[in-house]
C-alpha cells in the first residue's frame, strides 16, 4: 500500500482508538429513553359485597413478583386464589430478580404492569415514583372490607406502622408493604446457655457477657462488614430507647442538630466500646452479610444485628440445635426514656400499583386477597416471615427465630419504632451514614465524635439538595 493514504495498520489503529468512544456506560442509559404511552384502562366491574373494589371479572392481570429471598411460591398461591375468585380472569404472574431493568422501560413507555413487588437490589426509587405521579393511590384498598371479615376494613387488620409507611406526603397510600420484618439483636439461645448467661438487658451486662465470651475465645459481636447499614437494625432502636422516639424522628426529618442529640452520642460511644475492647469478631469489616451470618452460625460470635429474614437466609448454615432468637437492644441505663423491649419493626416487600396500570382494581384486589388469613398463613409457612396482616400465626408451628420475633413484638406492644430514613433517603442511610459513618466507626477508623460530625454533614447536604424529594414526620 502507498504511504500517503489509509494503510491497513492505520485503519486498525484508528479503529482501536475509536473503540474508546464506545466505553462509557452512558450509551446504555438512553436506550430506555422516553416515550408516550396510551392510557386505556379496562372497564370497571360491578361492585358487590364479594367484589368491593369493582374488579372487571374478565380482565387480565399482570403481576410482577421479585424473585428473591422469599421466592415466588407465595405469589403463585395468591394467583390461584385470585383465579378461583374470578374464574374468567387470568393472572399473568411474572418473576424477576431485576425489577428495575425489567420494568423501568415500561414505566417510561407508559405501559407498566398492574401489580409490582418493588423489592430487591434493583428496587425502583419509591420517592421518585411518587413524585412523578407514577403510582395509584391505594386508599380504596385500605377502606375496602377485609378479605375474611367484611365488618373490618383492610387498614384495621394491618400491623402497626404499615399504613403510615405507605404514605409519603399527606393522606394517599402509595405503597403496601406485604412482609413484616422484625429487626434487632439476633443470637443463639444454645450458645448463651453454654456461657450460662441470659440476654443482657443493660449495656453493662452486655459488656460483661462479651468479656466472659472473649475469655473462651468467642467474639461478642459480628456484623455485615461489607454492608454496614445492618448496624442500625439494633443501633437505631437503641437511640430511641435512650432518648425517646424524637431522636429518630429528628434524624428522619434531616434536622440540623439531629445527630448532636446526647442519646445519639451515648449510643455510638457504647457501640464503639465493643470495638475498643476487642469484642468484635476479627476481620468483620471485610465480611459480607452471608459470611458474617455464617461465622455467627458457627459460634464464632454471639450477637449480630439483623432482620427476620436471617432465619430463612441462613437456613443451610444454621446448626439444628442453634435455637435462634431475636431480642430488642439492651438499654444503656435506668435513665433510658423507653422501656426494655423497644423494637424496630416495619414493612418489607413493597407492593405498588402503577398509575398507568390497565387493571388497577385487579392489582388492589390481588393485594386484598394476599392480606387475607389464608394467604398470610401460607406465606408464613413457606418463608418463615410475618406478613403485614396482624395475625395468622395462631396454630402454626413457627420456627424458633420467627417464634421469638412474634414474642418480641408482643413484648414491645406500642413501643415499636420505625425509622423512615431507610426508605426515604436510601443513599443517605445505606451508603453515606451506613458505610462511611457506622462502617468506619465500627472498624475503629473514626471516633464517635467524628462519626457524629460526618453524619450531620451528610444530613445537612441531603437537606439542602433539591434533587432529592424531602419528607417530614
Amino acid at each position: 500500500m502507498g504511504s500517503t493514504n489509509v494503510s491497513r495498520r492505520d485503519l486498525i489503529r484508528r479503529t482501536a482508538a475509536a473503540g474508546l468512544f464506545a466505553v462509557p456506560a452512558v450509551g446504555a442509559l438512553t436506550s430506555c429513553a422516553s416515550g408516550g404511552g396510551d392510557d386505556d384502562k379496562v372497564a370497571k366491574g360491578k361492585k358487590t359485597a364479594k367484589n368491593p373494589l369493582a374488579v372487571n371479572e374478565k380482565a387480565k392481570l399482570e403481576f410482577y413478583v421479585f424473585n428473591g429471598g422469599f421466592g415466588i411460591g407465595y405469589a403463585k398461591h395468591a394467583k390461584q386464589a385470585y383465579e378461583k375468585q374470578f374464574p374468567k380472569a387470568s393472572v399473568a404472574l411474572k418473576a424477576t430478580e431485576k425489577i428495575q431493568s425489567t420494568l423501568q422501560p415500561r414505566f417510561n413507555g407508559g405501559t407498566p404492569p398492574d401489580l409490582i413487588d418493588n423489592s430487591g437490589a434493583e428496587q425502583m426509587d419509591m420517592g421518585v415514583l411518587v413524585g412523578k405521579k407514577q403510582l395509584t393511590d391505594l386508599t380504596p384498598l385500605m377502606n375496602a372490607p377485609s378479605y375474611d371479615d367484611p365488618k373490618k376494613k383492610v387498614k384495621d387488620t394491618l400491623r402497626p406502622g404499615v399504613l403510615e409507611m405507605g404514605r409519603f406526603n399527606g393522606d394517599p397510600v402509595w405503597v403496601m408493604y406485604y412482609a413484616y420484618t422484625v429487626y434487632g439483636v439476633w443470637y443463639s439461645q444454645t450458645q448463651l446457655d453454654k456461657l450460662d448467661a441470659e440476654y443482657p438487658k443493660t449495656w453493662d451486662d452486655m459488656l460483661a457477657l462479651c468479656a466472659k465470651a472473649k475469655k473462651k475465645g468467642i467474639a461478642g459481636w459480628t456484623y455485615a462488614g461489607k454492608h454496614p447499614y445492618y448496624i442500625p437494625f439494633s443501633l437505631y432502636p437503641f437511640f430511641a430507647k435512650i432518648g425517646g422516639r424524637e431522636v429518630l424522628d429528628a434524624i428522619d426529618n434531616l434536622e440540623p442538630d439531629a445527630w448532636k442529640h446526647p442519646a445519639v452520642k451515648a449510643g455510638l460511644e457504647a457501640y464503639y466500646e465493643l470495638y475498643k475492647k476487642g469484642y468484635i469478631l476479627k476481620g468483620t469489616p471485610g465480611l459480607d452479610h452471608i459470611q458474617s451470618q455464617t461465622a455467627w452460625n458457627e459460634g464464632k460470635a454471639l450477637f449480630i444485628p439483623n432482620g427476620s429474614w436471617v432465619e430463612n437466609e441462613s437456613k443451610k448454615t444454621t446448626p439444628k440445635n442453634f435455637e435462634m432468637r431475636v431480642a430488642a437492644p439492651s438499654g444503656l441505663d435506668s435513665s433510658d426514656k423507653m422501656p426494655f423491649g423497644t423494637l424496630w419493626a416495619s414493612g418489607g416487600e413493597p407492593y405498588i400499583v402503577p398509575a398507568k396500570a390497565k387493571n388497577p382494581e385487579g392489582g388492589m384486589e390481588q393485594l386484598r386477597i394476599m392480606l387475607g388469613k389464608e394467604s398470610s398463613a401460607n406465606f408464613i409457612k413457606q418463608v418463615s416471615s410475618l406478613t403485614s396482616f396482624d395475625g395468622a400465626t395462631e396454630g402454626l408451628d413457627l420456627p424458633p427465630g420467627l417464634d421469638s420475633a412474634v414474642k418480641a413484638l408482643d413484648k414491645a406492644g406500642k413501643n415499636i419504632v420505625n425509622p423512615r430514613i431507610q426508605d426515604w433517603y436510601v443513599e443517605l442511610q445505606k451508603e453515606k451514614i451506613g458505610v462511611s459513618c457506622f462502617g468506619e466507626m465500627m472498624a475503629g477508623r473514626i471516633t464517635p465524635a467524628e462519626t457524629i460530625k460526618r453524619a450531620q454533614k451528610f444530613t445537612d447536604e441531603a437537606r439542602k439538595d433539591d434533587s432529592i424529594t424531602h419528607y417530614k414526620h
Binding site: 489509509v6 495498520r9 486498525i12 489503529r13 482501536a16 482508538a17 473503540g19 474508546l20 468512544f21 464506545a22 466505553v23 462509557p24 456506560a25 452512558v26 450509551g27 442509559l29 438512553t30 430506555c32 422516553s34 416515550g35 408516550g36 404511552g37 431493568s101 414505566f107 417510561n108 413507555g109 407508559g110 437490589a121 425502583m124 426509587d125 421518585v128 415514583l129 412523578k132 405521579k133 407514577q134 462488614g225 461489607k226 454496614p228 447499614y229 469478631l281 476479627k282 476481620g283 468483620t284 469489616p285 471485610g286 465480611l287 459470611q291 461465622a295 464464632k300 436510601v426 443513599e427 445505606k430 451508603e431 451506613g434 458505610v435 462511611s436 462502617g439 468506619e440 472498624a443 434533587s467
Partner: protein
C-alpha cells in the same frame, strides 16, 4: 488504482458505520442532551435545567473521588499489566538459556506457562471477582490463611474492608485476569520478529536486557500501543465496574468510605438506584471527556516512525 478507492472502502463500511452511528454515536448525542434535563429515568416527563447538573457535578465529592480512582486505574492498570505481560512474554519466547541448535528460546516449560497465563481469560469477570472475594475474606479467605501459613501473620489485613488497601486489591484482580491475554498477544508479536536480529545482537555481545530494549520492544511497539488502548477501555469500562460492584463494600459497592468508587459505577448508581438518570448522563459525559483525552494522549505519544521488516 487510486481512482474510486474511497468509494470502494465506503461500500464495505456503510453497514457497520450505520450500526455504529445508531447504537453508539446516537446514544451519545442523546445522553449529552439528557445531561441538560432533570429526567429521573422512572417517568417519561422531564424539563430542561441548563447547566444545573454540571454545576452540581463540580461540587460533588463522590464524583471527584470516582474521577480520581478512574484516573488511577487508567495510569496504573496499563502500566503494570503491560510491563508484566512484556516480561512474561519475553521470558517465554526469548529469555531462556542458550541451548544447542537454537540461538533464542524461551525458559524451560514455556509452552506450559503460555497456557497457564491464558487460563483466567476463559473465566468470566464476575466469576473471577467472586472467587477473589472469597480469597480476600479476612476470616476464612485464602490470602490471610496463606500469610498465616508462611509465618507472616502480622501482615494479615481486612483487605477489601480496609480503605487504604481496597482499591489496590481490586486492581490486582484486573491485572491477574488480563495479563494472560497480553502475554499471548505479545508472544505472537515476538514470534514474528526475525531470529537473525537476535542472533546478530548476541554475536555482538548483547545481553538479555539489551536485546529486550533494543530489539524486542521497538519492534513490538505497535502491538504494545494497541494493548495500551485496550487496557484503557478496560480501566474505564465494564470490567472496572464489574469488579468494584461485585467485590467492594457497600450497598452497590465503592466502599469502604468511597475508597473504591469509579466513574462507571457512579453512573450506574445515580441512574438505577437514585432515580437521577439525567445526572448520571452528566457523569457519563465527564467519562466521555476522560476517554477522549486518554485516546488523544495515547495516539500522540505513540506517533513514532515505524520500522518495516
Amino acid at each position: 488504482m487510486q481512482h474510486g478507492k474511497y468509494r470502494f472502502i465506503i461500500g464495505f463500511l456503510i453497514i457497520p458505520v450505520a450500526i455504529y452511528a445508531m447504537f453508539v454515536i446516537w446514544p451519545f448525542v442523546q445522553s449529552i442532551f439528557y445531561s441538560f434535563t432533570n429526567w429521573t429515568g422512572l417517568s417519561p416527563d422531564f424539563k430542561m435545567v441548563g447547566f444545573a447538573n454540571f454545576a452540581k457535578l463540580l461540587d460533588d465529592d463522590v464524583f471527584w473521588k470516582s474521577l480520581t480512582h478512574s484516573l488511577v486505574f487508567l495510569l496504573v492498570l496499563p502500566l503494570v499489566t503491560i510491563s508484566l505481560a512484556l516480561f512474561f512474554a519475553f521470558m517465554i519466547n526469548v529469555g531462556g538459556r542458550h541451548r544447542r541448535g537454537a540461538a533464542v528460546t524461551g525458559v524451560r516449560g514455556s509452552g506450559f506457562y503460555k497456557i497457564v497465563y491464558f487460563f483466567p481469560q476463559v473465566l468470566s469477570i464476575s466469576i473471577v471477582a467472586l472467587l477473589f472475594q472469597f480469597g480476600y475474606n479476612p476470616n476464612s479467605g485464602a490470602l490471610n490463611a496463606a500469610l498465616d501459613g508462611v509465618g507472616l501473620g502480622a501482615l494479615k489485613s481486612d483487605w477489601l474492608g480496609d480503605p487504604d488497601l481496597a482499591l489496590w486489591c481490586v486492581m490486582a484482580v484486573l491485572v491477574w485476569c488480563t495479563v494472560g491475554f497480553f502475554v499471548v498477544l505479545f508472544s505472537a508479536g515476538m514470534a514474528s520478529i526475525p531470529k537473525d536480529f537476535y542472533e546478530a545482537a548476541l554475536l555482538d555481545g548483547a545481553n538479555r536486557i539489551t536485546t529486550f530494549f533494543r530489539i524486542t520492544l521497538p519492534l513490538l511497539w505497535d502491538t504494545v500501543q494497541s494493548g495500551w488502548v485496550y487496557m484503557g477501555i478496560l480501566a474505564l469500562g465494564p470490567e472496572s465496574f464489574a469488579v468494584v460492584q461485585i467485590m467492594t463494600v457497600g450497598p452497590s459497592g465503592g466502599g469502604p468510605d468511597y475508597s473504591t468508587t469509579v466513574l462507571p459505577l457512579y453512573v450506574y448508581v445515580k441512574a438505577f438506584r437514585d432515580g437521577q438518570a439525567a445526572y448520571a448522563t452528566t457523569i457519563g459525559v465527564a467519562l466521555l471527556v476522560v476517554a477522549l483525552a486518554f485516546s488523544a494522549i495515547v495516539l500522540r505519544l505513540g506517533r513514532r516512525e515505524r520500522l518495516e521488516f
